[in-house]
Symmetry: C2
């Protein structure tokens, strides 16, 4: 019982920091996306192939969460966008305080989007609000079509799902029928984008959706 | 600071329960394996194709950890082995208390192996001892060869790694060179088994290793 109480307090404290941080982002008309997936579902690769197209029209910053190493941040930095790395030192998720500290290192007057790449984990990141406008879950075809039913928290709370590595579909036992039936039951409003990020297929609809998510219609005050 | 202290206390309390539970398993000459991976790396499929061969010689019980649903437990129950399901109701890992409760529901006098399938998560399960004789990490080729470096805790603590979905190698950018170089640096003693569980390839060495892990040389008192 003690453990549960502690966790509730941690979540409440987190939500309060997230609420304040969201006001800050709103005041600067910055749209914030929280990218969540299992390890290796392809979050970084998705960003590597999305950001070069996004920055043709918008100013994008990235916050990279990792348990250890700066590998993902190094990959994103090559795209010539501002990147702030958060090394969680063992923690399995980002929290709003970490994102607040990262945001304080960014030039918020010169950003339209902040994309947060969360720690690779389908469980805990789903419950920690990071002042995002949308959680986006990335699911790799190789992970199997039973994942929405088995990890419903993230699939309920995400506004969009990138169904990634679609090129592996012929070599896997992933059932698109099962996947879409479960999504319809768990989160019928969720947008699904069928993508192969590494092959750059299916990115158009995802990028259009991102544009549509912009706060204040993308207008800076 | 409070949060960190709380977590340390939780881990210490867990280790104490695990220590007592391990004595119990030892007294019954039961070998316990803790299977850890990201969601969808193939833990359940590995068990579906390993257990039918293992039960030709040994008595095997399974403890199934899942955040929600009994899907994996249902799949294992079809193999006609005793299965106890632990639904963690949101927790991202199993702890020793959960395993103790599950073990109390099993006929320990009639088991040689207990295989624990942990919650799909590469981070937190690595730090919670479950009275196992070995942690085994399952990594899918589709997750990418950078995972040992990015999630070193589990790759340091595991005694063996199942490199699963080897059949996807031609269609992925997984580098076996990078993988083996990182393993050599992080955990040179770790055994690696290249497997495609769904295709039943590479299972022999893994099953032989499991036999070699048996406590008291597999002899019941």
């Amino acid at each position: 019982m003690t453990q549960i109480r502690v966790e509730t307090n941690i979540l409440q404290a987190n939500d309060e920091v997230a609420r304040q941080l969201k006001e800050k982002f709103r005041a600067k008309s910055i749209t914030v996306i929280n990218l969540i997936s299992s390890p290796g579902a392809g979050k970084t690769t998705l960003l590597e192939h999305s950001i070069p197209r996004l920055i043709k029209k918008y100013r994008v910053g990235v916050i990279e969460g990792d348990v250890l190493t700066t590998r993902d941040a190094d990959r994103i930095a090559k795209l010539n966008v501002p990147v702030v790395q958060i090394e969680t030192k063992g923690a399995c998720h980002l929290d709003a305080n970490m994102v607040l500290k990262a945001a304080n290192q960014m030039d918020l007057d010169n950003l339209d989007f902040i994309i947060i790449e969360n720690v690779g984990n389908l469980v805990c990141p789903a419950t920690f609000e990071l002042a995002e406008d949308a959680k986006v879950v990335v699911l790799s075809i190789a992970e199997g079509s039973d994942k929405p039913a088995k990890y419903p928290t993230i699939f309920t709370r995400a506004k969009a799902c990138i169904l990634n590595k679609m090129d592996l579909l012929p070599y896997s036992n992933f059932s698109l029928d099962e996947f879409y039936q479960d999504i319809k039951r768990i989160n019928p409003q969720m947008k699904v984008f069928e993508v192969a990020a590494l092959r750059e297929t299916g990115l158009d609809s995802w990028l259009e959706w991102l544009e549509g998510m912009m706060v204040n219609g993308g207008q800076k005050d």
